[in-house]
């Protein structure tokens, strides 16, 4: 009998994990395998991989409960640091940046803003928001992936760090689009907070981004807070 779980070809070798395409009871799935890192000593490596696998699986399940677009988790194996999850047909936002129409592009950033605001309002952070971790499906749905650094947190600081890291990625990877895209993202983020009657919290989070920036290295005294 043919096995109902089948791992086929490698489709992406990321920094964090290798992604394999496969079948799971006739469903198209991704095998996200956090393969042992040769550079880390096993004691440290096992701990990090197990922790992040559990962390990611829990996060994906939780986030799905809020109706946000993330892959469905089908199975996890903490020993192997493996998650079997839904296969999302789509492209990374990063790869579409140069070809998208301006209006579509801004719309996607608004959707990411909405996503992150809902995550934050529910006391969670993504931990690694980048344009590589946003998938756009052919139906123009926005999916967030890669929840390995996800955290449960209700502090303003952690939410500001989340936004600050995204801002940094936009500056370094998409310098020309940074201003318009970040603006679209953050305006929608604010709107969601406003609809939730949490404007005050939102402005504290945004203000704290400036505090984080002022703590950075090589900041002129005049720009410090």
């Amino acid at each position: 009998m043919q096995s109902s779980i089948e791992r086929k070809q490698l489709i992406k070798k990321g920094a964090e994990a290798s992604l394999f395409y496969g079948k799971w009871f006739n469903k198209e799935v991704i095998f996200k395998h956090r393969i042992a890192k040769q550079y880390r000593i096993p004691q440290l490596d096992n701990e990090i991989r197990t922790l992040r696998t559990i962390n990611e699986a829990k996060a994906l399940i939780k986030v799905k409960e809020y109706g946000l677009n993330v892959p469905v988790v089908y199975e996890i194996d903490t020993q192997k640091a493996l998650i079997i999850m839904e296969y999302i047909v789509g492209e990374k936002l990063k790869d579409l940046m140069d070809t998208l129409k301006e209006s579509d592009k801004l719309n996607y950033f608004r959707k990411v803003g909405e996503f992150i605001a809902q995550l934050h309002l529910n006391g969670q952070t993504h931990g690694d928001i980048t344009t590589s971790n946003v998938l756009i499906t052919p139906n123009k749905h926005v999916f967030l992936i890669d929840f390995g650094l996800h955290e449960y947190s209700d502090t303003i600081e952690d939410k500001s760090v989340d936004l600050h890291l995204f801002k940094r990625v936009l500056i370094s990877s998409h310098g020309n689009d940074y201003l318009s895209c970040y603006h679209a993202f953050i305006e929608r983020y604010k709107t969601i907070y406003k609809n939730n009657n949490s404007q005050k919290l939102c402005s504290s989070i945004l203000k704290n981004i400036k505090v984080i920036e002022s703590r950075g290295r090589y900041i002129k005294k005049s720009e410090r807070l």
Partner: protein, 334 residues
């Protein structure tokens, strides 16, 4: 006729003078390094030493290059970033030479110079660079006209962290190489904080945790100084390697350059080499003579900038102790 540039490095404990020709051949490199008798690097003490020794260092560099000062046609100096009082000495000497000899003057960013000397010596085109030293911890690559910073430390630089720990453990300066040797005799790993935020790092919690181990009752009974040194290295270098790998996957660069004083560490080299193999990227370590601070890298970067945008006026040579490398345009790579 061959033209020669003299570069002055003066951002921290090294007063370095290097001479290169405009084609990128290095003719000399002389360093005068301040070594504290105790404690860390005190900017005023460093300044004093540089002020006393700059003349001799320049003369040595000229002798090594078999040139006279009148054969130099460009003066370059480290304008940013670094310790203010120390940067001022380099700038002062550079302005003086330029005025006296009636030759052009150019200020360069120290971090960019580290990348450029690596590209020259390793014959590498477009690398992702991990720059690790006493003052800096930066993962950078060239994107949209500048050396963008993809990841950096949020608090201590890796070399600073290792040196500080070494001081707490009564290991004399410089602590890094001694920690590397101690780590070889370790018998166990002690879990320590591992802090990675996206592609950024934080070493301050790790430093405090390691320092606490020194004052614990278990020190020298259950674990040794070698064990702490080993755990500190394994932990912090794994963090560095992880963010470098993340940046490599994100930027999809095909080459990785390791530079800065901490690049001398064999264990770190081994770890970075491992991810390069995983991602089919070429791995190069800047030859150790030029990985640490030196004047040759300043001279060479000065040549690149001078050839693409001409010389700086005296007014434009004000030191910028806080300038970030990602705020500077790189005309020679466009």
């Amino acid at each position: 006729m061959t033209k020669f540039a003299l570069g002055i490095e003066s951002t921290a404990h090294t007063f370095g003078v290097g001479i290169v020709n405009f084609d990128g051949t290095i003719l000399s490199k002389v360093n005068d390094i301040y070594i504290p008798k105790e404690g860390g690097i005190h900017p005023v003490m460093v300044k004093e030493q540089h002020l006393n020794n700059f003349r001799l260092t320049i003369e040595k560099a000229l002798i090594e290059a078999k040139l006279t000062i009148n054969q130099i046609s460009l003066i370059a100096f480290s304008q940013s970033p670094g310790l203010g009082p120390v940067l001022k000495i380099g700038a002062l000497v550079a302005r003086l030479l330029s005025q006296k000899l009636h030759i052009p003057l150019i200020g360069v960013n120290h971090c960019i110079a580290h990348v450029e000397i690596g590209r020259l010596l390793c014959d590498i085109e477009d690398p992702l660079t991990l720059y690790v030293s006493g003052g800096n911890t930066i993962v950078s690559a060239f994107e949209s006209g500048a050396y963008q910073i993809f990841g950096e430390t949020l608090d201590l630089a890796i070399g600073n962290m290792l040196d500080s720990f070494a001081r707490d453990a009564n290991i004399p300066h410089p602590g890094g190489p001694k920690i590397e040797r101690l780590a070889l005799d370790a018998s166990k790993y002690i879990p320590l904080p591992y802090v990675v935020k996206g592609m950024d790092l934080s070493f301050s919690g790790l430093y405090t945790a390691a320092k606490r181990l020194l004052n614990s009752k278990k020190f020298n009974t259950i674990y040794t100084l070698s064990d702490i040194a080993y755990s500190l290295q394994e932990n912090s270098f794994a963090m560095l390697t992880e963010v470098t790998e993340r940046a490599l996957a994100h930027t999809e660069k095909k080459e990785v350059l390791l530079t800065g004083g901490v690049a001398a560490n064999k264990r770190l080299q081994e770890m970075i080499a491992s991810i390069c193999q995983e991602h089919n990227a070429r791995f190069e370590v800047v030859p150790l003579k030029y990985a640490g601070d030196n004047g040759a890298m300043i001279a060479w970067t000065g040549v690149l900038r001078y050839l693409s945008e001409g010389s700086h006026t005296i007014k434009n040579t004000i030191i910028k102790p806080k300038e970030r490398m990602d705020n500077i345009t790189i005309p020679w790579r466009n």
